[in-house]
């Protein structure tokens, strides 16, 4: 039942748009093409940033830094139930979407998409955002310098997200 719901969500959207294209009054296919072109632009624009950050994350992993740091943190991490493989993702997530995409896809390649760490990373990646980046952009756009309790609240929500994701994945999948 639950499996069907999650498998159906995406086809539902595709079929709904298909129905709009079939019965809609205006020419929605032009809208589709415009949007798809934007999507292409976004992913092409992503590549230069991603090249730099994928190289950096790959170097970090190859140097043994990730492993050493993970080993150092593993007693703590195991105690609170967070897989240590998540470390690069957790460190980059608040700052940059492309850096965390790099960390996320490297992680999936290393431990597999269906392992506990891969599943936890997926839930964290989907339900958190680039906290520092978003808040900086929002407030600097209106020249606000005192962000007051914005950062503490946003980081508290993100911490909650990390712990809850790992807890839920253990409960849900294993």
């Amino acid at each position: 039942m639950l499996e069907t719901v999650s498998a159906l969500a995406m086809p539902t959207v595709v079929v709904a748009v298909g129905l709009l294209l079939l019965f809609g009054k205006s020419n929605y296919f032009d809208s589709f093409l415009r949007g798809a072109k934007q999507g292409l632009q976004i992913s092409v624009n992503l590549l230069p940033t991603l090249v730099a950050l994928m190289v950096a994350v790959a170097m970090l992993n190859a140097s043994g830094a990730t492993e050493t740091l993970s080993n150092l943190l593993s007693p703590v991490a195991a105690h609170v139930g967070i897989p240590t493989e998540l470390l690069p993702l957790l460190l980059t997530r608040p700052f940059s979407g492309s850096a965390s995409t790099a960390a996320y896809s490297t992680l999936l390649e290393q431990v597999g998409a269906d392992s506990l760490a891969g599943l936890c990373a997926s839930v964290i990646f989907a339900s958190s955002d680039t906290v520092v980046y978003v808040i900086a952009v929002y407030f600097s756009s209106v020249n606000i310098r005192h962000t007051r309790y914005a950062f503490p609240c946003a980081f508290a929500v993100m911490l909650f997200c990390i712990f809850f994701s790992c807890f839920l994945c253990r409960l849900w999948f294993f």
């Binding site: 929605y28 949007g35 050493t68």
Partner: protein, 201 residues
């Protein structure tokens, strides 16, 4: 900021690679990483095109508008000033609806316009207003109904069931959004109380 992240990661890699004697691995990682970036972009690209196209159709068909009308009675409670004055109310609900549909590139300009509108009623323009903070924090915990990019990456990484994470993602992101609303409401609740007692004096 990205430059700094890149620099820090490279320096740490160099130092650890030197200490652990993994310099050849580090060297090999450079061309591998660059090639991986292209692989990741290619596995994302098709899905990005498809999804942005579909969402553009939904946006043109007025789905964002309808969704934001559905959300406004609920959002009214958390943005009382914006809704009372009408400044930014539309943009707030449209930005949250766009986030919900996963149209990030539509959500950001809407949210920035909302911030600008709310700034008109901000008593001190250099200090963030309570409602502005709520909007910013809520958008960092944005609920997305279908995380299309993530599903494409999981599929490309060889997951047997990339969609299995959907319900945990919905649960987690809804709870995070609730946490964001709750946490940012606490200081506002107390400051309102404080202002009232001050007035009485």
């Amino acid at each position: 900021m990205l430059g700094k992240i890149f620099g820090i990661l490279c320096l740490v890699a160099l130092v650890f690679g030197g200490i652990c004697g993994n310099m050849t691995d580090v060297a090999n990682a450079i061309p591998d990483g660059a090639a991986r970036a292209v692989e990741v972009t290619i596995s994302l690209c098709g899905m990005m095109c498809l999804w942005c196209g579909l969402m553009e159709v939904l946006a043109d068909a007025g789905v964002i508008r309808r969704l934001s009308r559905l959300l406004s009675p609920f959002l009214r409670r958390f943005f009382p000033n914006a809704y009372r004055t009408g400044e930014g109310a539309e943009e707030i609900s449209a930005a949250i609806s766009a986030n919900l549909l996963g149209i990030g590139n539509a959500a950001t300009p809407l949210a920035l316009r909302a911030m600008e509108q709310m700034q008109k009623h901000n008593p001190d323009p250099t200090r963030a207003d309570g409602e502005q903070i709520t909007l910013a924090v809520l958008n960092t915990a944005s609920v997305t109904l279908i995380p299309a990019n993530l599903l494409a990456l999981r599929r490309a990484a060889g997951s047997s069931d990339p969609f299995a994470i959907m319900i945990p993602v919905w649960l987690t992101s809804c709870l995070c959004a609730a946490m964001a609303l709750l946490l940012t409401s606490i200081p506002r609740f107390f400051s309102k109380k404080g202002r009232r007692t001050q007035k009485r004096k």
